[in-house]
């Protein structure tokens, strides 16, 4: 006899073996909160949006940025801030649109795709922020070199000593190391959080895709 046929026969005879939950027990269950991965994705994503928005506020009030205003760099800073907020709003809209499309009544493949799409929106937003961070840092560096009197005096001193190239190399080297370290910490954090949360989903999605190829 085919193994699965034997299993099917037994499977059908087993109905009495299952626990029988009462009306009240089921009613209590619907009052409880879900702990699905979609809920976790929502929580983590909202935190991410909040984190990057707060970061931009915190940076705006920092001493470094305020000293920028004195340097008269508004024509660069204002457009950058406006672009930053416009993109944030666009990503939040995209995120909630994708989030709303997640439905447990879709088929397994579509459900997985919608979850991954929602997740991808946040990933793109984070990538945008990292690129933005790199650009902003170099723009800031440029402004400092061009207009900050203290920095300019140091450059002139280095030039007089014939060390100008070394001075620029040092500045760029430290900037790149600091940026690289910040990005590495963030990437490890993402890898851990989402890697653990989506490990099973990615695995199952791959398996389903393999079936359709």
């Amino acid at each position: 006899m085919d193994e699965l046929e034997l299993l099917k026969k037994d499977w059908k005879n087993q109905t009495s073996e299952y626990p029988k939950l009462s009306y009240d027990e089921i009613y209590k269950m619907i009052l409880k909160k879900s702990s699905s991965i979609v809920k976790w994705i929502l929580i983590i994503s909202v935190l991410e949006f909040a984190f990057w928005t707060l970061m931009s506020f915190a940076l705006k009030d920092s001493k470094g940025v305020r000293s920028f205003d004195e340097l008269g760099a508004e024509n660069i800073l204002i457009p950058m801030t406006v672009i930053g907020y416009a993109i944030l709003i666009y990503f939040i809209y995209l995120f909630f649109r994708n989030y709303k499309s997640i439905s447990a009544t879709d088929n397994v493949k579509i459900l997985m795709e919608n979850i991954l799409k929602t997740r991808k929106t946040v990933k793109q937003y984070v990538a945008f922020n990292l690129i933005y961070l790199v650009i902003a840092t170099f723009v800031a560096l440029g402004i400092e070199i061009e207009q900050n009197e203290v920095v300019r005096a140091k450059i002139e001193e280095a030039t007089a000593n014939g060390d100008a190239l070394m001075f620029y190399a040092k500045i760029f080297f430290f900037t790149i190391v600091a940026l690289g370290a910040a990005i590495a910490v963030l990437l490890v954090f993402y890898y851990l959080v989402y890697g653990l949360l989506l490990k099973r989903l990615n695995l199952n999605y791959k398996e389903l895709k393999k079936l359709n190829d």
């Binding site: 193994e3 699965l4 009613y27 909160k33 447990a104 949360l197 989903l201 389903l208």
Partner: protein
């Protein structure tokens, strides 16, 4: 959510709860995990219920939400990790006429099914529930031909697990 909706939902789920128990049985290995998954499936069913229009049978609709929860949405809670207890499954294996070899065979079969991956388990589950390839393919989002091909592969895989 009004009381009437709650009442009709709980009543229907109480009647069809075996479907959820069966999903839990395939995807979990101990009572705690079974209860956890049952709870999550119930919540997901309830969340989706306002959109349930009754075009499909309540039970058919339950298969989809149940499997989606087990395969994709459910996050195994801490207390259910590392507590594999396949040998001490709480379910008794029963056959119509008591037959020791058949009982042994069934035990090995359930163990083998537990070794399949999540998608393969879904195929086996729908097959055991007498769903045709059309419904299996619609539930999983694959073509009926691929569902049939995969089902045959699962049968071969099960044979291999049983007779290594």
């Amino acid at each position: 959510m009004n009381k009437e909706l709650e009442h009709s939902f709980v009543e229907q789920l109480e009647k069809h709860q075996n479907i959820v128990h069966k999903v839990c049985r395939l995807y979990t290995n101990n009572q705690n995990a079974h209860n956890d998954l049952f709870q999550e499936i119930t919540i997901q069913l309830w969340k989706a219920y306002p959109k349930f229009r009754g075009e499909a049978k309540f039970s058919t609709w339950m298969y989809r939400v149940g499997l989606n929860t087990a395969i994709t949405l459910y996050r195994k809670s801490k207390r259910t990790i590392n507590t594999y207890e396949i040998d001490s499954l709480q379910y008794k294996i029963k056959s119509e006429e008591y037959d020791d070899t058949e009982e042994q065979q069934l035990k090995s079969l359930y163990k083998a099914v537990h070794k399949l991956n999540d998608i393969e388990k879904a195929l086996v589950f729908l097959y055991l529930e007498d769903k045709d390839y059309k419904e299996i393919s619609e539930t999983l989002g694959i073509t009926p031909v691929n569902a049939r091909v995969k089902m045959n592969r699962v049968k071969t895989k099960l044979k291999k697990i049983l007779n290594p």
